[in-house]
C-alpha cells in the first residue's frame, strides 16, 4: 500500500444510488470480512447516516478498502420510514444506527439493539446482567473529574466488572441540523466544534469534503500549514493524555511535567496561529491564518526541547515498576475484536490494526511528508500509551519537515483558494487522521449552501471496544482504561 498512487478523491459522482437488495449486499459484504483476516480489496465500514432529500430521507453507507482509503458511498432511498440495518451484519454500525434512528425517525430493520441513543425522552433500559452476587454501580452523567458527561452502568461481582454499558447523548446539540442551509464557512465553524480537542481534524475533514465536492485544489502552502496545525493538535493531546494516563495510575509526577509540556505546545500554537486550540484556522479552500517567518523559526527551534522533555517522561514511565504494574495487561483489546469493531487511531494501532489515513488514504501534505506509523499487538493500556509516545516522536519530526518546506520552497504562496461559484448540486467526502483516529466528513452542496453534512468521530468504534475490554478488570482500573481510550462524547453526540 505504501507508495501506491493517490486514490481518486471522493467526488461529486458519489453517492451511488442502490436498491434495498444492493444495500443489503453491501452490508453483508462487510460482515464477511469481519470474521476472517481481511482479504485484499475487502471493504470496511466508515460511516452510516441519514439525510433528508427532496423525496423523503436517504440513508448513506460509506466504506473504504481495508488497507486503503478509497472511499465509496452508496445511498438508498428509505421507503415507508425504514431501511435494512447494517448493524445486523456488522457490530461496529450498531451505535451509529441507534443515533440515526433518533435523528431521522427512520427504523433500521433488523437492528440487533434498537434502543434510543440521542433521544433521552423515550424509555430506556440498560442491558440486563443476572446472577448471584451481582450489583450495579450507576455513574454519571456528571463524573467526578472535569470531563464530558455520559452515563456508565457497571454490573460488578465484588471488585470485578461483569458488564459495562455506556449511555451517551447528553451533549447532543443538533450540530448537523444547524449545518444545513448555512454557508460552507459557517458550517466549518460548527464542524470545528463537534469535538474541541479535535477541532483542527474536524475543520480539515469538512474542508476537504467541500473541496472534493467543488473539485477545488488547495494551495500547497495551505496544505503544509494544515499539516503543522494537525500535528500540533496531535502533540498537545498525546502529551496531555500520556500524563493523564499516568495520573490515573496514581503517578502524578509525569502528569505535572506532561501538563507543562502541553501548555508549552498550546502557547506555541497561539503564537503561530492566533488560537491555542487553532479553532477556525482551517477553512474550506485553505487556511485563515498564515504563519509568520519568525513564528515558524521559533517553533522549529523549540521542537528538540519538546522531544527531550517528553523522552525523559517516557523513560521514567518505563522504569517505574509500580506504574508498569498498573498499565501492562490492563484493558487488553484483542486484535481480532479491534478489527471486528473497526477501531482506528491509537486504540486500533495498539491492537494490530495497521491503518492511518495519513498513509493509507494520503492527502496533502502527507503525500510528500509521510510520518512513521507505529503498530503494536498487545492492545493493553501500556500499548496505547506507547503508541502515543511513538506518535509524538513522529509528529515532532513531521512538524520539523513541514516547517522546512514552509521556510523553503513553499515560503511564499496563497493560503486560500476561493470556492468556485456553482449552482450545481455536488457531493464530497474525506477522511482525515485526527489524534484519536480517522475523522470522516461528507457534505452535499447546493449552490452556495450546505444542503446536508455528516461528520463521523473515530469514537463510534471505540466505545463498544471499551465496554468489551473492561470485562474482567476491576472497577478501580476503569478510569485508567477509559483514559487510555479517551473516546469522545461530544464527537458522537453531535
Amino acid at each position: 500500500m505504501i507508495g501506491s498512487p493517490m486514490p481518486p478523491p471522493c467526488s461529486a459522482d458519489a453517492p451511488v444510488m442502490v436498491d434495498a437488495a444492493g444495500w443489503r449486499a453491501a452490508g453483508a459484504a462487510l460482515a464477511a470480512g469481519a470474521d476472517a483476516a481481511l482479504a485484499a480489496g475487502q471493504r470496511v465500514l466508515v460511516a452510516v447516516w441519514a439525510a433528508p432529500d427532496d423525496a423523503g430521507t436517504r440513508v448513506h453507507l460509506a466504506t473504504r478498502r481495508a488497507d486503503g482509503g478509497d472511499l465509496a458511498v452508496i445511498a438508498l432511498r428509505a421507503e415507508d420510514g425504514s431501511y435494512p440495518s447494517i448493524g445486523r451484519h456488522h457490530p461496529g454500525a450498531i451505535l451509529m444506527e441507534r443515533a440515526l434512528q433518533d435523528a431521522s425517525g427512520l427504523r433500521a430493520e433488523g437492528l440487533p439493539d434498537p434502543r434510543p441513543w440521542l433521544d433521552h425522552e423515550r424509555d430506556f433500559a440498560f442491558l440486563p446482567a443476572e446472577g448471584e452476587g451481582l450489583h450495579r454501580i450507576p455513574v454519571g452523567p456528571i463524573h467526578a473529574g472535569t470531563i464530558e458527561p455520559g452515563h456508565f452502568r457497571f454490573t460488578v461481582n465484588g471488585e470485578t466488572i461483569v458488564r459495562l454499558e455506556a449511555r451517551l447523548g447528553y451533549t447532543h446539540k443538533g450540530t448537523l441540523g444547524l449545518m444545513r442551509g448555512t454557508t460552507p464557512d459557517a458550517a466549518s465553524r460548527l464542524a470545528g466544534r463537534v469535538s474541541g480537542d479535535s477541532t483542527v481534524a474536524y475543520a480539515w475533514a469538512f474542508a476537504r469534503a467541500v473541496e472534493a465536492a467543488r473539485e477545488l485544489a488547495v494551495p500547497r502552502r495551505a496544505s503544509a500549514l494544515r499539516g503543522v496545525m494537525a500535528e500540533l493538535e496531535r502533540l498537545a493531546n498525546h502529551a496531555g493524555d500520556f500524563g493523564a494516563i499516568c495520573n490515573d495510575a496514581g503517578f502524578p509526577l509525569i502528569n505535572a511535567h506532561a501538563g507543562a509540556l502541553r501548555e508549552t505546545i498550546l502557547r506555541q500554537a497561539e503564537a503561530c496561529f492566533g488560537h491555542r486550540l487553532m479553532m477556525d484556522r482551517i477553512v474550506p479552500g485553505g487556511v485563515a491564518a498564515d504563519l509568520a517567518p519568525a513564528s515558524a523559526a521559533s517553533l522549529r527551534a523549540e521542537l528538540p526541547s519538546w522531544l527531550a522533555r517528553f523522552e525523559r517522561l517516557v523513560d521514567l514511565y518505563g522504569k517505574t515498576a509500580s506504574l508498569q504494574d498498573r498499565v501492562v495487561g490492563a484493558g487488553r483489546l484483542a486484535p481480532d475484536l479491534a478489527r471486528r469493531l473497526g477501531c482506528g487511531g491509537y486504540v486500533g494501532r495498539a491492537a494490530g490494526q495497521d491503518f492511518d489515513a495519513r498513509r493509507n488514504a494520503p492527502y496533502p501534505p502527507y503525500d510528500r511528508r509521510m510520518p512513521d506509523i507505529p503498530v503494536l499487538a498487545s492492545g493493553d493500556v501500556d500499548a496505547r500509551a506507547r503508541i502515543r509516545s511513538a506518535e509524538i516522536r513522529a509528529s515532532v519530526a513531521l512538524i520539523g519537515d513541514l516547517l522546512g518546506d514552509l521556510m523553503g520552497d513553499l515560503a511564499a504562496g496563497d493560503i486560500r483558494a476561493p470556492l468556485p461559484e456553482s449552482e450545481a448540486e455536488a457531493f464530497g467526502c474525506a477522511l482525515v487522521e485526527g489524534f484519536r483516529g480517522d475523522v470522516f466528513a461528507a457534505v452535499r452542496l447546493r449552490g452556495a449552501v450546505v444542503a446536508d453534512a455528516f461528520l463521523r468521530d473515530p469514537s463510534w468504534f471505540l466505545w463498544p471496544a471499551l465496554e468489551a475490554v473492561i470485562e474482567g478488570n476491576i472497577v478501580a482500573d476503569f478510569p485508567l482504561c477509559n483514559k487510555s481510550f479517551n473516546a469522545a462524547y461530544s464527537g458522537c453526540d453531535l
Binding site: 458527561p149 446539540k173 444547524l178
Partner: protein, 167 residues
C-alpha cells in the same frame, strides 16, 4: 525518578504570577453578592459541569490545574461532589439532555452558592444558540453570577474571573 525530582527541586518553580486584574472582570465582580462571598472566606470549592460543551472549555479548565497556572494556590479547588461546592462552573450551550442533571447538581450544593457560566456557549449558547436541542446557555436553567466568555476562554481569562470571585 530521583534525577527528575532532584532537577525539579533545583530548577525553581514554573508557576507564573497571578494574572493582572482587568477592568472588564472588575466591573463584573462589582455586581456580586459581597456579603455571601465574605462568608465563604478566602477559599472556594468549584464543581465543573459540562452541560453539552464540545470539550474545548474542559481542556482549558483542566489546564488551570497545570503547574503554570496552579489554580489551588489561590484557594480555588475543583471538587468531585456538588455537595462540597460553593461554585458551579458550567460550560456548554445547555443541551436538553443535560439540563436535568445540571439542575440536580445545583440543588445538591449548600447555600450560599454561585454559578459561573463559561465560554460563549455558557453565555448564550454560542454557535449552538439556534438549536432546538439546546436551551441556550447556563442562564436558561440556573441563576448566573459571573460569565467568562471565549471560545474557549483561555486559562488566564478563567483565572481572572475566578480570582475575581474571591474579592
Amino acid at each position: 525518578m530521583r534525577r527528575t525530582l532532584f532537577e525539579s527541586l533545583h530548577r525553581g518553580t514554573l508557576t507564573e504570577p497571578a494574572p493582572p486584574r482587568d477592568a472588564e472582570t472588575a466591573a463584573l465582580v462589582a455586581e456580586l453578592d459581597r456579603a455571601a462571598l465574605r462568608r465563604l472566606g478566602r477559599s472556594l470549592a468549584i464543581r465543573a459541569v459540562d452541560a453539552g460543551s464540545c470539550n474545548g472549555c474542559e481542556l482549558e479548565i483542566i489546564a488551570l490545574g497545570n503547574v503554570l497556572y496552579d489554580l489551588e494556590r489561590f484557594g480555588l479547588k475543583l471538587v468531585a461532589s456538588p455537595r462540597h461546592a460553593d461554585v458551579l462552573l458550567v460550560t456548554g450551550p445547555m443541551t436538553r439532555n443535560m439540563s436535568a442533571a445540571t439542575r440536580l447538581a445545583y440543588e445538591a450544593m449548600p447555600a450560599p452558592k454561585f454559578v459561573v457560566a463559561v465560554g460563549d456557549c455558557g453565555r448564550d449558547g454560542g454557535v449552538f444558540a439556534a438549536s432546538p436541542h439546546c436551551l441556550g446557555g447556563t442562564a436558561a436553567v440556573l441563576p448566573v453570577t459571573l460569565t467568562i466568555p471565549g471560545c474557549p476562554p483561555a486559562p488566564a481569562a478563567l483565572l481572572r474571573g475566578l480570582i475575581g470571585l474571591l474579592g
